[in-house]
Symmetry: C2
């Protein structure tokens, strides 16, 4: 009997721990060689499947695969490419299934956010109709933490830890200099529609007066007057004011405070630059000297300061996805379920892809303080376990040693694909 | 016999390891209680001496002082305040010496860059003339690495490590996404007049094609045509281009690139930052999608990823400054001397403050590749030892635990100081 092959793809914005999920997938699949033949990884995500560019992960050593656990970003390449609906572009889906059929791929593990789980769900349905049933399992991933059902999304804990550590450190810097120099520090963080990342930065403030003093959430419409008053009060009281602003911070009318103008492949507005916008506003209105930082990709790639629990969970969802496949489950995604006890515990649960697809989870209002500028204790209790523990990568010559894969492509069997 | 007291002050922009120098000073002084009475630290640097705001470090526990070793920024407060010349404002110098006399301070240890060493030197001379001789010892510090004589400046190794680690991680991020998304990543780093920090980022590129592909140094006048050609070649060859730009990058006429006055996608005047300026230039000319990051204070405050050798050297110069004082040396500064062997070794040497004051050391031309966009092997050999080793702070609840000092002020003995 021919063993069935497995196809794994990374999708959308990468994280510090998405490769830990890949590691979980590949290491677990290798333990079931009786049932799973080759594990293919899409070169640059789903585009690799369309182009029949399938990385044969069997060609990578156990050591290289193990090192995925501590390697940030997408080792096989990811993409911003959303399949259109079947009605709009049936050929794309047919092509996918043709490629899977040609390479005897019966398992499709899609490592991404809500959009990707929607795609995986559709592929599963269509494969049935097309007489080549494919088991489709989602593997959750997003720094934005906006996936529903799962208590948190792998990738989020590490960016949360990065922003909390960074604003604590930069806050100390500003505090040391504020008497005669910079009084305002603004740090811009990711989170297009949800303030999870910005909120997590609030963990850095453990005692009164500690940074960050103000957090600007996408969930709370920006109120210029109230904000400037708060900044001023803060400077008078503590000598300085450290602000964390979400890239998704919005005006009352829902427009972003600062946008670069472009849109990405999903039609989302491409953001950036709200930190200098806010800093200049303060300078203009209050006259304080400022500095600002935009961490951008540094925050989501910062494997050197990853959360240990995040790494563990990212690996676990990859492992669970393979186990789900082997148990005959389909169109589901492993999720993180938080225990009810006071001490943080978690286990793997499952969610239907149809319930996950295209739903965005925003910060509950009671995670944000009444004045809209801080997080509540309820939020702290939620965030804190997710940044626990350090999981340092190995270093050589002072620099983290991240895996370099061979990425050997499987021989093509089909004609070249032309996107229509 | 009354023991003489010591005054220590932090000056200018803080670093991830300036408190390690403070730790070296205080711990060493505490070992010589027979000769050194109290160690005072200036609240907010030299301004604390002028205002007679002297932190009595004896009031801090040994544990708090030990924790300075892993606490970033200036724990006692620093300042941007340069004493004018004695001819211009003699009262400032006289006030300093009055305060020192009132508190029996016979040792003045000034932890800062070139400006500060100039001040320390003058205080030493004047104190002699004023009949209250004060031993003045410099303690080197600057992330910019532009102090002369010393092989490197404490503070630099850690920011060097931060930028090398960050561009490696962000580079992997961009590499994973470049097929269908961002192709250009620009990271702005500090270094207004010297490209040391930008150059150190080059350590991240260990194999052909690895980030950073281009470094823009203040030492090399910006050539737009040559730069854009290089960017394009890079994208064609590797699929993406990761750029590190020094905040001090300059046009041929010596003006800063960032001050050139670019506009954003909406035609608004650029809000500052050479990274967005460069990124927009590439977008306009070559059409590539970009992301950019400005690490700003995050880079110099990043104690969580400090270089172990930097921490060690920062401590050592603090310790040596006290030992120099006790040996009767004056108007000198401990420096780092690199051994001549192939294996990196270092020891503490000494330099005259008069030789250190107000001299800026830029990158030698042969540290920069012929085309001006990369570092040479000579530079690598210089930089590499300075980022060796990790020296992680202790964490609690997922966040680094940095010391919180009591900062108890000594009772004032003089009238209030009014800056003239």
């Amino acid at each position: 009997m021919t063993r069935n092959n497995l196809f794994y793809a990374q999708s959308g914005g990468v994280t510090a721990v998405i490769n830990a999920s890949a590691c979980g997938v590949i290491e677990t699949a290798r333990q079931h060689r009786d049932k799973i033949g080759k594990v293919y990884a899409g070169l640059n995500g789903i585009v690799g499947a369309l182009n029949e560019e399938l990385i044969d992960t069997n060609k990578e050593t156990a050591k290289s695969i193990a090192a995925l656990r501590w390697t940030p970003a997408g080792a096989f390449g990811s993409c911003r490419y959303k399949l259109r609906s079947y009605a709009e572009n049936p050929k794309e889906y047919e092509r996918l299934i043709d490629v899977f059929r040609a390479h005897n791929i019966r398992y499709f593990l899609y490592n991404g956010g809500g959009d990707s789980q929607d795609t995986a769900n559709k592929v599963s349905q269509l494969s049935l109709e097309m007489g080549f049933p494919i088991t489709c399992i989602g593997v959750p991933k997003t720094v934005d933490n906006d996936l529903p059902i799962t208590d948190n999304s792998p990738g989020f804990g590490s960016v949360a830890k990065y922003v909390a550590v960074s604003i604590r450190e930069a806050g100390l810097d500003v505090a040391s200099m504020c008497e005669s120099s910079t009084k305002i520090f603004v740090m811009e963080v990711m989170g297009r529609h949800a303030g999870w990342i910005a909120g997590a930065a609030g963990l850095a403030s453990e005692q009164e007066g500690e940074a960050p003093h103000i957090i600007l959430f996408p969930e709370i419409p920006f109120n210029r007057v109230k904000f400037l008053r708060k900044v001023n009060t803060c400077v008078k009281k503590f000598g300085y004011c450290a602000i964390v602003v979400s890239e998704g911070a919005q005006n009352k009318d829902g427009s972003f405070l600062a946008a670069t103008g472009g849109t990405d492949a999903f039609g989302h507005a491409q953001l950036g630059g709200v930190a200098p916008y806010i800093a200049n506003m303060i300078k203009d209105e209050l006259g304080y000297k400022y500095h600002w930082a935009v961490a951008d990709y540094l925050q989501r790639a910062a494997r050197h300061i990853a959360s240990a629990i995040d790494v563990e969970q990212a690996y676990a969802v990859g492992k669970a996805a393979v186990e789900f496949s082997l148990k005959g489950k389909n169109s589901v995604m492993p999720v993180i379920v938080r225990g009810n006890g006071k001490k943080y515990t978690w286990h793997i649960g499952e969610a239907k892809l149809s319930d996950v697809a295209n739903v965005e989870k925003v910060m509950p209002r009671d995670y944000i303080s009444r004045d809209g500028f801080q997080i509540t204790d309820k939020a702290r209790n939620y965030f804190s376990p997710l940044i626990q523990g350090e999981d340092y990568p190995p270093f050589k010559n002072g620099i983290p040693q991240y895996t370099r894969l061979k990425k050997v492509l499987e021989k093509k069997k089909l004609k070249k694909w032309k996107a229509s």
